[in-house]
Amino acid sequence: MQEFDELKHIWQQSAPAPVANRLPDVNRASSQTKKKLQNELRNGAICLYFTAIVIAAMAIWGNFNFEHWYTYGAMVLICLICLAQATLMAYTYQKVKQIDETASPKQHLSQWEAYYAFRRGQLKWNGPVYFVMLNLALGIYFIEVMAGASEQFLIIFWTIYTAWMIFAYFIMGRRILKREKKRIESIMNELQHLEQQFAE
């Protein structure tokens, strides 16, 4: 029958591998949840800001000479949607950045839980609003751009465009949304389970 002190003796006898010459490379891409999330959000926001700038530059200096104001309006709308989405990503980035890895485990876990609760709320409206608004703007833009095309081409184009949008929103989008919701729920359950262990 082993007593706990003997287990302690076994533990303390175990010699860990030498670490002196194996410093972690702090510059390597981290697989840490926090750093990874921050990088994804920051890069996503930068890409969207850049896209908005490029579209705005095209609208101003592109010499498209569109006849109708609403075509430029559509370009402005696309810019605004990109800017709004980028700002939301930047805001989410800040929320992740504020999670304190040096806080007590219980506080740290509840900070993550708060983040995932925020993400769950965001998931409900952000994706659908972004999708509908962007496609509305693209639809308006195509009215003038496609004006000179043959009737046959227009029928094919709008059929493919509409079919793709319906597929992307109702089939692909909903499936992704469902999966993401399930993932967030599972993470939140695990976080609550861990938090509970500290309370017991």
Binding site: F4, K34, T102, Q107, Q197
Partner: protein
């Protein structure tokens, strides 16, 4: 002292203990190595936040505990019931002192998540006051937990010894 020098010194001083903590938590040397790297990357990224309220050791252990708890979420490793068949196989495979160490790690990795971390720190002989500060719980609550975990771990280890 430059950040790099302080970091190197802290790594050399605390990495062996943190590695054991991670090993007790995951029960796998490869995962423990991965966790050790992640924990020290978090230490590097947060060094500017250190105010000296607690010792470097307490501060680093706390970051390591937080890293471990989140890592588990990714790895989906759950505490498992001790399987006597599995322990029998393990006993057949290894019969030296090192095997006792390995079995101790395996037994620890079968405890609930927070208990693995607490008992690893107890085995490492960290003062109860420090462990309570790292875990963010009261010392009284910690003592109750430790008493329960010690009993559970000893029973688990002895059940291996019997097979």
């Amino acid at each position: 002292m430059r950040q790099q020098e302080t970091f190197t010194q802290l790594y050399r001083q605390y990495a062996p203990g943190i590695r054991k903590l991670c090993l007790g938590y995951t029960g796998s040397a490869a995962q423990a190595e991965d966790l050790l790297q992640e924990a020290f990357m978090a230490v590097w990224n947060n060094m500017h936040k250190y105010r000296g309220d607690a010792s470097w050791g307490t501060w680093i252990y706390r970051i390591a505990v937080n890293t471990c708890l989140l890592y588990l979420r990714k790895e989906k490793s759950k505490p498992q019931k001790v399987d006597t068949d599995l322990l029998q196989n393990m006993a057949d495979e290894e019969n030296n002192q090192e095997s006792e160490v390995q079995h101790l790690y395996k037994c620890i990795s079968r405890l609930p998540e927070t208990e693995r971390l607490i008992i690893s720190m107890v085995l490492e002989d960290l003062p109860y006051e420090d462990i309570a500060s790292i875990a963010g719980i009261s010392e009284n609550n910690l003592r109750v937990k430790i008493h329960r975990i010690k009993k559970q771990l000893t029973e688990m280890f002895n059940s291996y010894a019997r097979v």
